[in-house]
């Protein structure tokens, strides 16, 4: 940050860099929202239920933090490219996954959702199950119990999980190198910010890319600070 501070202004006025950051922010935000929407029910299930093969589901959720992310990228290509898995079918109905925003979102969502799920699961486990049972005995439906008893107590944890997922998605490189080296965004082909930095390092070296690295760090840091500030005062 200190080394790149002088060049931050220059980086922040570079159109290609800003386009990369914009695309990355959209990808990361979509991943965070999807993680919350899909991850919260998962987290509730893991926190409150005992079922067959629960350990298997637990392990699958933890895969993204166990394996190299390039491997996850390869898995996604094998599942969705035009040659393999669901790819031919999806392409037949006009949906392309590889090197698209959709593909990037799928990749980073899978890789980052673990954080959201685990944070939410821990928060739910801290609530005494008797509180839910009491609500149910008083006539609440499961949905009403969740939305009026559980959710008010865990929404901050969900928000924390979401920002962690978002941050992880912004930082993703390995899977994106395979799945979405660049994406079509706003009428142009654009590198995700992490790939932009990597390509810049290849072509310009340390001295040339430090400005953009510092700028990206500043943007992400500012986002975090604003988010935490809002969360604390809501």
């Amino acid at each position: 940050m200190a080394l790149g501070a002088r060049g931050i202004n220059s980086a922040l006025t570079t159109g290609s860099f800003l386009a990369s950051v914009e695309a990355t922010f959209i990808i990361a935000t979509a991943a965070a929202i999807l993680s919350v929407l899909v991850g919260t029910p998962f987290a509730y299930l893991l926190a409150r239920s005992d079922f067959k093969f629960k350990e298997v589901i637990d392990a699958i959720i933890d895969i993204p933090i166990m394996v190299p992310h390039v491997l996850v990228g390869i898995m996604i290509v094998l599942a969705f490219s035009s040659q393999y898995g669901l790819g031919p079918f999806l392409q037949g109905i006009g949906i392309n996954i590889i090197d698209t925003m959709i593909g990037a979102i799928i990749a980073v969502t899978y890789l980052s959702a673990t954080y959201s799920i685990r944070v939410t699961e821990s928060a739910i486990k801290m609530i005494n199950p008797d509180v839910e049972l009491t609500a149910r005995t008083l006539g609440s439906t499961p949905t009403f119990t969740f939305t009026h008893v559980i959710l008010p107590r865990i929404w901050k944890s969900i928000a924390n999980g979401a920002i962690l997922t978002w941050a992880r998605a912004v930082a993703e490189v390995g899977a994106l190198l395979i799945v979405a080296y660049y994406v079509y965004f706003n009428g142009n082909y654009v590198y995700p910010a992490s790939i932009y930095i990597y390509v810049g390092y290849e072509g310009l070296g340390l001295a040339g890319i430090v400005n953009y690295s510092a700028a990206l760090l500043l943007i992400v840091l500012a986002t975090f600070i604003i988010y935490r500030f809002v969360l604390r005062h809501v």
Binding site: G15, D99, V190, G208
Partner: protein
Amino acid sequence: MKVEKHGRSTMAYAVIIIGILIGAAIGFGLAYSAYVPQINSNNSKITALNAEIAALNAEIDSLNSSVNSLNSELSLQNSLVTLASNSPFVVGAAGTLKYAFGSVLTTFKGLYPHITVAPPLFEGSGLVAQAENATKQFSLEAAADTTAMPSVLFPNLANYEIAFGQTQMVIIVNLESSAGLKLYNMWKGVQGLSAMSTKWNQTWQQMFTLIALNSSTKVGISDPFTDPSGYQAAGMIRLAGLAFFGNMSELYDAIYDNPSKYYMASTETTLVTLMQTQHLDFITSSYMSNAIPQTGNSTQTGLAYITLPNFVNLGVLSELSYYHQANFSLSPSQLQPTGPGPSENFTINPVIYTVTIPIPSTNAAAAALFIQTLFSQTCQSILEQNGITPISPGIVYGSYTSIPSLIKSLTTPVNATYSTLFPTGS
């Protein structure tokens, strides 16, 4: 009377003695004259033999000198081997050297089993140079053009590079695409035509029309700003435009001004992997050095490569001035996706591989031994098998005095003929 008798006896003796002497002289003379030729002949033979002995002595001296030289070289080599065994030997090289250097490293490991060879990095020449600049991790570095290392490493991290091999641009075709198969068949047909004939020119024109001007075909290229083959492919396309269409822009603009026409990767070796998933028909950023191993058995891989005319393939040193017509400037903003950085000027030279031992080399001794191995007969054959024409002796750009003594005899300083291959100010 007694005196007379005595006198007559003395005279007789004298006559006899004189007669004997004369007879002896005559006999000696006769014998001498009979044997002089033989003696002369023998003398000549003796002289000749002496000369031969002198020559043999000189040869022995020379051989002794060679033996001494070899002994000192062997001693140097042995001390280098000992030194080289103390730390890992790390190679950073252009991606297209992956196959040739892989085999050379296998030979090297066989020759020097006590030297630990770390996993090499084969990436774009630009990335390898930048990695060395940032981390100083390599023992030896090699690039696929003559400018990558001087522009990034000279003068503090390296002060010479040795040109050791030359290759040429080719086009890899996807035989599983109809356009790729069509191009390949056209290329096979053009091989039987007389070069520069009307039919030959027309066929090449049709081929480049299929590659560049056909809107349904897709081309794989590597990033010109991170990989030499990227800008060399652009140069090749410009030369093809000049040669077959009368202008450099027609083919070049048709590809590079149309982001949906191409797929760009950071290195050309990854493009082959992506050929199927990205529906690429052709890869123009290819050298023969990676096309040969990557296309392999066409029936199995579904890939093949086509060679190009000498005046566009960047593979002939004598065509240097023709190639330079295609020099161009490019800004990252002119390509998609757009990366960071300023506009650059690209010089279209023949494709030359260079190698250097960085100043902070992590194992300079092993690097010198590796270069010596590279110039061995076995490894020169390996280079040829991988589509690289060896340059021997290696041509040195930069500080010739910095070349290690072990490999100096394998190299020669750059001369006027080759100086234009290297950055200006050599």
